[in-house]
Amino acid sequence: MGIVVVLILFVIVGGVLWLVTKLLNSNNVHKRGRYAYTRRVRMVFGGYLAILIVSLLLNTLLPVKGLNQLEKVDRKELTSEGIVLYDDALAGQVDEKFLREKWNFDYKGEKLSIASSTATYQSAPIVVERKEQNDGKIEAGFYMTKSSMNGLDITQYVQLPELDLIRDKLLLSNSPINEIRFSQFTNVFAVRQFTGDRLFSHNSTFEEGQWIFYLKVPKDLKLETSGLSLQYVGG
């Protein structure tokens, strides 16, 4: 592995050396038309410098997407919120402030199968509360506490799951897939060594919020699952 790195380094360094030498030698000072070339170099360098300065100005003017809207969150608070959400749900007192999505279905059948179309929800925490009457209605909710990336609230980027009632089957799916891509700028290493940041490695902290599906089903509805685990309120 070490040798491969050295060889790659050697190829890159060699390539750069070759390029610089070629560029410098192809425009030797002794070449005819030197003054015209000098002017050309000045124009290219001046143009490049101008672009860099304009970029600096644009940086202070451009509204950066995502950068300013993200709020800071307390990681300890997030962890305790997650525990509270889960315990409250099992006690049948789920806090509505964590509700992200809600579904209502009319269902007259005696049996209901709950399934997932993706592996994502195979280990999904599904909490079921039986109502006190058979009202023929299924109420479902997706609850989730805040998620954070480097101490910033990224909950707004979480794609919500989908829930559909297809005949006698309640199907969980996640469309679109929850793949979030972040970009972060770091100072050049010549600055990082004085700011206490890591020199050539990067550190990110990601915490996913606690999430559960909470179902309220008619009193006598029989539930079946294929691979999913159900937890009952008060059970």
Binding site: L24, N27, L49, V64, Q184, A190
Partner: protein, 250 residues
């Protein structure tokens, strides 16, 4: 031929320096080309990190001008070697000159080149940001690097310039060694690459690790400044000393 005019050293150095700024201007063309190339390489990010929870998959790309600085340091190294070659050093004889004035004007030119290299390297961070903001649709995470604080810019330009100057002084010594004996043109790369391979094979920390620890882990800017300036002075001084052993130009 004898000259009746008494020429002061500093005047000659200034004249030669001015001449070199115009005469060696092509080196800045190669710097621009290299920095643009490094910026293109940087568009994919200098690092990636992925994490997955039960529900979410996150991927973070890190962007910085690390490649630009590394390429510019290499450029400084090559530029310093090239100005020690006969094709360049013979230009000095346009003026009434001696080796000292020639060296001093070369050092001044390399210091200027290092400052320009450091300045453009740090400014290129902002060009990289604009390109990524405009053409990538990711979510941006705030970091201290987003603040164009004057102090950070000043430290950035200074330290980047010092790194380039360090490589320039090393290149100047290497170039002078090669002028002294062409054998070094083969010997030095062989020793360098061979040493790297041997270190990689044995798993030992080599000279690069020592240099890394000495310069790059220094967290105090004044100390870093002292280290780089002292090392550069020693390297330039070594080149001066060696060149005195070179044959006099016919």
């Amino acid at each position: 031929m004898m000259s009746l005019t008494k020429v002061r050293l500093w005047d000659v150095v200034k004249q030669q320096y001015r001449y070199k700024l115009k005469g060696y201007i092509q080196v800045f063309m190669s710097m621009v080309v290299l920095q643009v190339l490094a910026l293109i390489f940087s568009l994919n990010g200098v690092g990636n990190a992925g994490a997955s929870g039960g529900l979410l998959n996150v991927n973070t790309s890190y962007f910085s001008a690390d490649f630009v600085l590394a390429f510019t340091m290499l450029w400084g190294f090559i530029t310093a070697i090239l100005i020690t070659t006969k094709a360049y050093s013979n230009d000095d004889f346009i003026f009434v000159t001696n080796r000292l004035s020639s060296h001093l004007s070369n050092v001044l030119f390399l210091v200027t080149a290092s400052i320009l290299g450091g300045l453009t390297t740090i400014l290129s961070t902002f060009l990289l940001k604009v390109i990524v903001f405009l053409f990538k649709s990711d979510v941006y995470l705030a970091s201290s690097a987003d603040l164009a604080a004057p102090m950070t810019l000043l430290v950035g330009v200074s330290s980047a310039s010092l790194y380039i100057l360090l490589l320039c002084s090393l290149g100047y010594l290497v170039g002078t060694l090669i002028q002294w004996s062409k054998l070094f043109a083969v010997l030095l790369p062989a020793v360098f690459v061979g040493g790297l391979l041997l270190n990689a094979l044995s798993g030992e920390a080599g000279i690069l690790a020592v240099l890394y620890a000495f310069f790059m882990t220094e967290s105090s800017f004044p100390l870093f400044f002292l280290k780089v300036v002292c090392t550069s002075v020693v390297l330039f001084w070594g080149a001066f000393g060696l060149s005195n052993r070179l044959e006099v130009r016919p």
